[in-house]
């Protein structure tokens, strides 16, 4: 990363990855795979958006949130409630849901950052907000309460429901790639530099003229928006949302783990991490299936846990760190 070298070459890796992913469905069909892998790929793309969102505030900005479920859920419920209760077209609902998520991010961020919460204090306060939303969504009538919100099945492109799963895949891919590009642009900008500076040392950053509050707010708003988009896509895929899915801690954990596994504060980290996490899970499942059948519940998850620990033991800087180490050795 020497100075000055920037421009289009920075985006080359993204273009390569985008192209490779774009060829994936065709490749899978040619390889004779049934829907399993494509379905997995779609889930990976959707959840990687949540992780990419987290990575902006958490990875680049060092604001570790344990409550990105709050934003995921806002996106998910926004998308669902706008359609189901207010009859808004899903294509229109999507940007609204994203905006809603972003505003919630801004609100939580404002309260937390004004109170100068850092580190695990910040983490836990976001977690608390997510829990509050979960409890409210589970009780409020307009979210459908505990019954959740179900979107009617009505397969029409105008309705954001597609007969071919590939369409959904490409749609998710476009969003993921857009966020990858956005990430790279941020990395190359003043905002990005300030964000990282805030992560490393707030006092030093302030002494250099960085308005840390503003930087953190921008980051959390953007972060929340992207994670909300993930929630909205999730709703569109499963056409059903309830409080535990939308605001449950699983998504907060997923959004946080994937970047750490993949490589925190890197462009590809969240995507690679999500793929690794879900891929490992699937691998453990099929592997165990092949070896032992399905007699003992949970042993695939035991294997998954062991793999997870092993992965950290051998790739301390995340998968991206490992890749970097290997390629550096080669160069």
């Amino acid at each position: 990363m020497t100075a000055g070298r920037s421009g289009l070459s920075d985006f080359l890796p993204i273009a390569v990855v985008a192209l490779a992913l774009a060829l994936l469905p065709t490749g899978l069909t040619l390889a004779g795979s049934t829907g399993t892998l494509l379905n997995l790929a779609i889930t990976i793309l959707i959840l990687s958006l949540a992780a990419q969102g987290w990575n902006i505030a958490g990875g680049y900005g060092g604001q570790f949130s344990f409550g990105h479920a709050a934003f995921f859920g806002m996106g998910a419920y926004g998308q669902a409630v706008l359609q189901a209760r207010l009859g808004v077209n899903p294509w229109v609902a999507l940007p609204l849901a994203v905006t809603l998520g972003s505003l919630v991010g801004l609100g939580i961020g404002y309260l937390a950052f004004r109170a100068r919460l850092r580190g695990s204090y910040f983490a836990l306060v976001t977690l608390a907000f997510a829990e509050v939303f979960r409890i409210l969504a589970n009780a409020a009538p307009f979210t459908g309460g505990a019954a959740g919100t179900l979107l009617p099945l009505d397969v029409r492109p105008a309705n954001f429901q597609f007969a071919a799963r590939e369409t959904f895949f490409y749609l998710a891919l476009v969003m993921v790639v857009a966020v990858l590009v956005l990430n790279r642009l941020i990395e190359r900008s003043r905002f990005g530099a300030y964000l990282v500076a805030v992560r490393e040392n707030e006092d030093a950053a302030r002494s250099l003229g960085v308005d840390t509050l503003a930087v953190k707010l921008k980051a959390i708003a953007l972060s929340a928006a992207i994670t909300a988009a993930s929630g909205a896509l999730y709703t569109q895929k499963f056409l059903y949302i309830d409080a535990n899915i939308a605001f449950g801690s699983w998504i907060s954990v997923e959004a946080l783990l994937a970047p750490i596994i993949g490589g925190i504060g890197t462009v590809f980290g969240p995507l690679v991490g999500t793929a690794t996490l879900l891929g490992l899970g699937e691998l453990a499942k099929t592997g165990i299936h092949a070896a032992f059948g399905s007699a003992i519940p949970g042993i695939d998850l035991i294997l998954y846990g062991v793999l997870l620990v092993a992965a950290i033991a051998f790739a301390p800087q995340g998968v991206m760190g490992l890749v970097a180490r290997l390629t550096r050795g080669g160069r």
Binding site: S33, G145, L153, F238
Partner: protein, 374 residues
């Protein structure tokens, strides 16, 4: 020997719902064994049924992922799901492949109202359960000379409990009961003593709890501890009141608790046989087992009649099904928009260390003890 017919069994055997999933799976396995031992699918040359098991991990994504895998492995139908969100997502994923999907429990009525042709629900839905629960309560109360006037509703705050409590609230008030209070609680709850204290303060004639296992056990024990003795505990779709572990471990707290729930037909010989079989392996007798047992039998029957592995044919056969060889107290199946119209819950009561059916009369093997005295 004909190639086996593959049948997908989807249950959440890890995560929050692991217990239900596991007992469902026991039933499905038992049914497959029975069918295979009886010669498999005769119209397909005695083809054996081969189970393709999938762990739905208590969440919808994992559920759909398993449906995809099962489809890849070429299953002819899928049975199970247990929780409504899983059933909703899984059946929809299956519908892409015209893959017949039989829901075992999944009480949300949205499951059968989406117009999915592939989706069938063998058990009763939410509406039916509440309607029957209220009807039977009224009958019970009337028969005993209306001892119960005041009611406290306790419910878990999920899909089951909340919806139920809302309906109960409206209907019971209309029927002249006085609802003193409705108390929701989360699952898992760390502490039920506040609920118990509240009940003690309100001193209702009747407590209507609908909770999962752990919470109800806590509540029942605390009530016993605090010497709270209403005239009746009338549970609805309760995780413990129809669970033998509860009966065995806390006979005092469990005694005389009533439940309106899924339950096997006690008078069918196969029920007792299956129960013995399950208990012989050190497990308890829960409704998930007979329900899934019956669902698998239902699907096998449809395949038998369709005489084909073709999914559309199986769906047609399911839709036309008038199946009686199950062990639930339902009568012959009759599907309307995928819902088995004969399905209904029954009332049970814990008496003398056993769970007895007390209502409706045609399936009952004991008389209700109500009001409870002493």
């Amino acid at each position: 020997q004909a190639a086996p017919v593959k049948l997908g069994i989807l249950q959440p055997v890890t995560g929050n719902l692991a217990q239900d999933g596991e007992y469902g799976r026991i039933g499905a396995e038992a049914a497959i064994n029975d069918i295979n031992q009886a010669g498999g699918i005769k119209s397909l040359g005695g083809a054996k049924i081969e189970m393709v098991f999938g762990d739905a991990r208590s969440n919808p994504e994992a559920g759909t992922q398993e449906v995809e895998r099962m489809n890849g492995e070429g299953v002819s139908a899928i049975v199970g799901g247990f929780a409504s969100p899983i059933c909703l997502a899984a059946s929809q994923a299956a519908s892409r492949y015209d893959l017949p999907y039989v829901v075992d429990v999944g009480v949300s009525d949205a499951i059968v109202s989406r117009g999915l042709k592939n989706t069938f629900r063998f058990g009763p839905g939410f509406g039916t359960c509440t309607r029957v629960a209220i009807e039977n309560l009224v009958k019970l109360n009337d028969a005993a000379g209306k001892p119960a006037k005041t009611v406290v509703l306790v419910h878990e705050d999920g899909l089951f409990g909340t919806g139920l409590a809302k309906l109960m609230n409206e209907r019971l008030s209309a029927l002249g009961f006085q609802i003193l209070e409705t108390i929701p609680h989360p699952t898992p709850a760390r502490d039920m003593s506040n609920v118990a204290l509240r009940i003690r303060a309100l001193n209702p004639d009747l407590v209507i709890p609908s909770s999962y296992y752990g919470e109800f056990v806590l509540l029942a024990r605390t009530m016993q501890q605090q010497r709270i003795r209403p005239k009746g505990i009338y549970a609805v779709l309760n995780g413990a009141a129809s669970n033998f572990r509860f009966v065995k471990e806390f006979p005092d707290a469990a005694s005389n608790v009533m439940d309106c729930n899924h339950w096997a037909d006690p008078r069918k010989p196969k029920t007792a046989e299956l129960r013995k079989q399950v208990e012989a392996t050190g497990r308890f007798w829960l409704y998930n087992t007979p329900l899934n047992y019956s669902c698998v039998k239902l699907v096998a029957d449809a395949i038998e009649r369709a005489a084909s592995r073709d999914r559309t044919k199986i769906i047609e056969a399911l839709a036309a099904s008038t199946f009686t060889d199950h062990i639930m107290p339902y009568g012959p199946t009759r599907f309307e928009n995928g819902q088995n119209m004969g399905a209904a819950p029954v009332n049970t009561q814990i008496q003398g260390g056993d769970i007895k059916v007390i209502f409706p009369a045609e399936f009952a093997d004991a008389k209700a003890v109500f009001p409870v005295t002493g």
